[in-house]
Symmetry: C2
Subunit: 341 residues, 2 copies
């Protein structure tokens, strides 16, 4: 193992000088800088993180910008759980996390919360963002100072200077749902898509992927229902059943499959939805939901913090994109997906 002492000896300077060069703290001549840098390169010196974090008294602080935990049927407590997991694991490295929870159904809350985070910009060494309201996010993102790296989870603002994006290929997940739907629907008929949350990046792409899969086939008729906000789901289902005498399946490209499935007690319907919330889980177990797509939210949160840690503390290069697998959950395997990382 190469230490700064080795470097100091070979470069004929003291460890203090080596340290100054490494951290660009000035107070050295060009000549010694070159000498030191040359030796560092030759020996392929990598600083010892352990020694570094032992001596350094300064805490590393990461900001986390997430929807409130209870929103979307408690979905958002899952990424938060993964983040807390990472926080605990990194406690020893003096990593602290400051949480900023916003209301994902309120632009005002989003803005206010983001600004509150920006007030702390002088103490933050990195930021994790779930940019659920994408139009707003792409504005606000620009206000983050250049020197603070930020990662996205869940969704991504492509034309921004993000460090890394951790999330699922949403369109593919839609196509996968379509495959499963097609497999489950043995007799041709109508398939209904219930679009509860509109104007959402994920929802729209899932539908896009779903439709693209069915475009090639032509056996089934696909209808999209887009109920107004806050309207009774029972009525939607009733309407759907009335308007489609041969309804075969329901695709719910959001976390609300459980709510829908509670209304359709008819077992002959194939219901496909997203995310392992407690409600969804129990309805998969009863058979009311046939398939759930899982996006490993805990892992997304965990990896988000780990990516920041690798970049900021370990100074490693990180992947620009981490693809989250598209898990298929059914009655038979759902139990095995619980309590993962």
């Amino acid at each position: 193992m190469v230490t700064i002492k080795n470097i100091a000896e070979l470069a004929n300077v003291s460890i203090g000088t080596v340290d100054r060069v490494i951290h660009n703290r000035g107070e050295f001549s060009l000549k010694t800088e070159e000498k030191v840098r040359k030796v560092i390169k030759e020996l392929n010196y990598k600083p010892n993180v352990i020694a570094r974090s032992l001596v350094s008294k300064k805490e590393v602080k990461f900001g986390v910008f997430l929807p409130k935990s209870k929103q979307d049927e408690n979905y958002w407590k899952l990424p938060a759980a993964g983040i807390k997991n990472a926080e605990k694991e990194l406690e020893i490295y003096k990593i602290k996390i400051i949480y900023f929870y916003y209301d994902k159904y309120s632009k005002t809350s989003f803005k206010k919360c983001f600004n509150k985070m920006l007030e702390k910009k002088d103490v933050l060494d990195g930021i994790l963002i779930a940019p659920v309201i994408s139009e707003l996010a792409s504005e606000m993102i620009n206000k983050i100072p250049e020197n603070i790296p930020f990662v996205f989870i869940d969704s991504c603002i492509q034309n921004s200077n993000f460090l890394s994006y951790i999330g699922q290929n949403t369109q593919k997940s839609g196509a996968l749902s379509a495959k499963l739907m097609n497999l489950s629907v043995k007799v041709p008929g109508s398939i209904v898509i219930i679009k509860i949350i509109s104007n959402d990046y994920h929802i729209n792409n899932r539908i896009k992927g779903f439709l693209s899969y069915f475009k090639k086939l032509k056996d089934n008729k696909i209808i999209i229902y887009e109920p107004e906000k806050g309207k009774d789901l029972n009525n939607i289902i009733k309407t759907a059943l009335k308007e489609n005498k041969n309804l075969r399946g329901i695709f719910v490209p959001s976390v609300y499959a459980g709510r829908i499935a509670e209304c359709t007690k008819k077992k002959s319907l194939c219901v496909i939805g997203y995310d392992l919330t407690t409600k969804n889980e129990s309805l998969v177990k009863t058979g009311a939901i046939d398939f759930l797509i899982n996006q490993r939210p805990e892992l997304q949160g965990y990896l988000g913090i780990m990516t920041l840690f690798k970049k900021v503390v370990l100074k490693e290069t990180v992947k620009k994109e981490i693809r989250i697998p598209i898990d298929i959950l059914t009655k038979e395997n759902i139990e095995e997906y619980k309590d993962q990382i």
Copy 2:
């Protein structure tokens, strides 16, 4: 953060004494021991792993007992990859891994390799084992000294004193395969199980799970083919097709689905197999294999080492069992499962 210095002060002794008590190195009186232990408990002292691993010059060595990487269509290089991942991540903690690769089709090799590992028992601080030949493993396991913790991946020898088991519920995965088969077979007919490797824990349990699912239904006829070792698979398939005029699906409860699918170019057959090897991957993409079950072999290896690390270095308590989710892979999502941890 509580340090031994704090404890020393409160207990009115020196840090040297505290250290001796903590490590039970003797040379202290009963009275001081009690004082020190009391303070440790009161302050809930947790040693600083960072400082500890910085000062300690001793390497921690883990033994890894795995089938040769190239066996089972290169399947076994996947857990090894996960292990190497963990090794790299833990390099800084002076963790070293010694690999012992055996031929999983030779009892002699298994024994010899295990004994070779046991020769190193004085330097090993933990062992990771894939006990593929279970009868032999359950004998050999007893020779591991009491003080060396060992974890299982892939499969488990239940009546042994293992620290942790990381693996999949094999029977459930069989039932899941059956569900998928049942879903894919739209017209009743025969379903063939091809049991290439016999006398294997996984294979038998997968078949058990598969059969149990179909027992309730009665639409399809299930036949098990058990070709002799080294026999041409093409012939097996030919025979199966000849003997079952209405063959609908093939279940391959091993890694060899790809080999089988190469022989059956008929698209009307549903083929379900196991594991994301390169061969299997390409055949899923062509559509020759309909479903693959993934058991996250890289993750198993990674978690195996991490579990040993947590126990031996961090002295944390670890889970006795880590369930690996049963991933369903299809043409639509297989790409997203590649290059995972």
